[in-house]
């Protein structure tokens, strides 16, 4: 999904632009979504950073009886082996966000490289875009499962596998921006005075696509967090790290959703996943909207 599909800021903008009137500044829903997104992510990031201070217990210690109901001592009760669920969630924030960030970094590195090469060198374009098309068609979750099962369960494997599967969409978006920029006069001028390709790509094109790449990066984090959760839920996450998905995996294995425990064991980790995925998506959409090449051209 791209921001152009979403069209948040464009509630009224569409008509104005097509009629050739310069859109006035107004408090659009893009601003609202940016503010909500940033606050959600800020809260989660702080939780991840200060997990040691915030967490009431060590999430790996058995500090109570198994399956305890919420109480003053354990706000969200305990899990099947007597660990504090609240503390698990706080530390889970750390590992879920880490995987999200790192996998998105891998993906955006690939996506930007492929986008730059493909958009700048017409000869490479048809080959690279074919690769992108192929990756976009393959059903990722089954492939993710297959690779995770073969390569083994560890946090670094999860990061690499997710990163290598989700870069294709970004590559396509960045490529189209690079193509537009490559045709602009200052790039042609730079080439006319004998600038090397490397100089043009790094000095003239990369800075121009940076903001778009950052927007894509944030959107990809959202996807990565959801994929990590699904993978961990299927029991393919790092067995040592506790992530939100892992907590839900154990809740599922122990049948927590068949008991009243669904309220404190199943509900909270899911809400945190929604908060993170939504937060990053909202930031990504509003960033992307500021650099949408389609809107720029029509102005």
């Amino acid at each position: 999904m791209t921001a152009t599909e979403l069209d948040l800021a464009n509630d009224a903008g569409m008509a104005t632009i097509s009629e050739g009137v310069k859109p006035k500044f107004r408090l659009t829903s893009a601003h609202v979504s940016a503010v909500i997104g940033v606050s959600l992510i800020l809260m989660l990031t702080l939780t991840a950073i200060f997990a040691d201070q915030l967490s009431p217990y060590d999430p790996t210690e058995r500090i109570g009886r198994p399956f305890e109901e919420p109480s003053a001592a354990h706000l969200l009760g305990t899990n099947d082996i007597g660990q504090d669920i609240m503390s698990e969630l706080i530390y889970g924030t750390r590992s879920s966000l880490t995987v999200g960030f790192a996998a998105a970094a891998v993906a955006i590195f690939m996506g930007t490289s492929v986008g730059l090469l493909s958009g700048y060198y017409a000869r490479l374009d048809s080959v690279l875009m074919r690769v992108v098309d192929v990756i976009l068609v393959i059903p990722f979750l089954p492939l993710l499962i297959l690779l995770a099962a073969y390569l083994g369960r560890s946090q670094s494997n999860t990061i690499i596998i997710i990163g290598m599967l989700i870069w294709a969409g970004s590559a396509r978006v960045i490529r189209s921006q690079v193509m537009t920029i490559s045709k602009q006069e200052y790039v042609l001028a730079a080439r006319a005075v004998g600038a090397t390709d490397r100089h043009i790509i790094f000095r003239h094109i990369l800075p121009q696509v940076m903001l778009l790449a950052i927007g894509q990066f944030v959107l990809v984090i959202s996807t990565a967090i959801l994929l990590e959760a699904a993978l961990s839920f299927l029991g393919l996450g790092d067995p040592i790290q506790k992530s939100w998905g892992t907590i839900l995996y154990w809740a599922q294995v122990r049948g927590a959703f068949l008991t009243p425990a669904w309220l404190w064991w199943v509900m909270p980790p899911g809400l945190l996943i929604v908060a993170a995925a939504l937060g990053f998506a909202l930031i990504g959409f509003s960033l992307e909207q500021r650099v949408d090449p389609r809107l720029k051209q029509s102005r």
Partner: protein, 324 residues
């Protein structure tokens, strides 16, 4: 997507298939350790050298790689997906038993999601920038951020456990003794929750694409012309705008079907639904690699098939692409 020729698309799909099959072939053979454990799922440690050689020869693993690769293709083309040593059954038999369940879930949820998504998207675009439009938009973006398995678990907790309205697992009541129509009703009841989960998660993409396409269509000149010549609003919406928005929507639907197939892995796990996805999950637990691979391959084939179908529908809906 629009400008790509039919031949180009066909080539792309063949490429995906070759890639998926090659990946399946090379993954277990590139892993460190004895490929026997991965391919045949045999406890290599407990066997003598002669026994190992025997099983290796039986599975054709003693032949040169290129011969193995050719044989692998030969078997697949004959519809032979290999043998599951864990379940002691041919894999083709296993997956054929599961395929109808997954197809049932994916297709019925897509149909419902298409109807709701397209209607909501068109409505949103029609009422552009109104409170309802913005509300719908926010709702859809939020749903899009939900993990599917979590939604499934919540539905079970509330609908099945708390209110006892619908069954929470399986495809039908075991040993129910129901026959004929009653059995159909029973199967239908078991489908509702998984289909609902899959539907809810498919709606946002359909909605967003429809809304976006409709917005650009509604801003175009021929809509203005239609209004100017005095066509009623309903006629403008249905006869002019909707018709021209359908083609991109069909494309996104086909792409979503790919996601729906992938998504069945988690959803079937939550609902213990006996489809392909659940088979894959069970294979992960039992480290039954050949079954995992077959699941992946079959899901890929299904996705390609529906993409192809969408391409033809696209050409049917958008006559401009016919000449290419």
């Amino acid at each position: 997507m629009l400008s790509k020729s039919r031949g180009g698309r066909a080539f792309q799909y063949v490429l995906v298939l070759v890639l998926a099959i090659s990946l399946n072939f090379f993954l277990p053979r590139m892993m460190p350790g004895n490929p026997l454990a991965l391919l045949a799922g045999v406890d290599v440690g407990l066997m003598t050298q002669e026994e190992r050689d025997e099983v290796m020869a039986e599975a054709g693993l003693d032949k040169p790689l290129i011969v193995q690769y050719a044989n692998y293709w030969g078997d697949l083309l004959q519809g032979d997906f290999g043998y599951s040593y864990r379940q002691k059954k041919p894999i083709t038999e296993l997956i054929l038993a599961r395929l109808p369940y997954t197809l049932g879930l994916a297709i019925s949820s897509l149909v419902v999601a298409a109807v709701i998504g397209v209607t909501a998207g068109a409505y949103s675009a029609w009422k552009r920038a109104s409170t309802r439009d913005v509300g719908l938009l926010w709702g859809m973006i939020t749903i899009n951020s939900m993990p599917s398995f979590w939604l499934g678990m919540l539905l079970i907790s509330v609908v099945s456990v708390k209110f006892g309205l619908l069954p929470s697992f399986g495809a039908e009541t075991p040993a129910s003794g129901l026959e004929g129509f009653d059995r159909l009703v029973d199967i239908g009841k078991h489908m509702i929750l998984p289909v609902l989960t899959l539907t809810v998660l498919t709606i946002p993409a359909v909605y967003l694409t429809t809304r976006y396409t409709m917005l650009s269509v509604l801003g175009s000149d021929y809509i203005r012309t239609a209004r100017a010549k005095g066509a009623g609003e309903t006629r403008v919406l249905f006869a002019h705008a909707m018709r021209n928005s359908l083609a991109p929507v069909v494309t996104i639907l086909a792409l979503r079907l790919g996601f729906a197939f992938g998504g069945t892995v988690v959803i079937e796990t939550v609902f213990s639904y006996p489809g392909l996805g659940r088979l894959m999950f069970e294979a992960v637990g039992g480290r039954d690699f050949p079954v995992m691979q077959a699941g992946f391959l079959l899901i890929t084939i299904a996705v390609l098939f529906f993409n192809l179908l969408a391409d033809f529908t696209y050409q049917f809906l958008d006559p401009r692409t016919k000449g290419q």
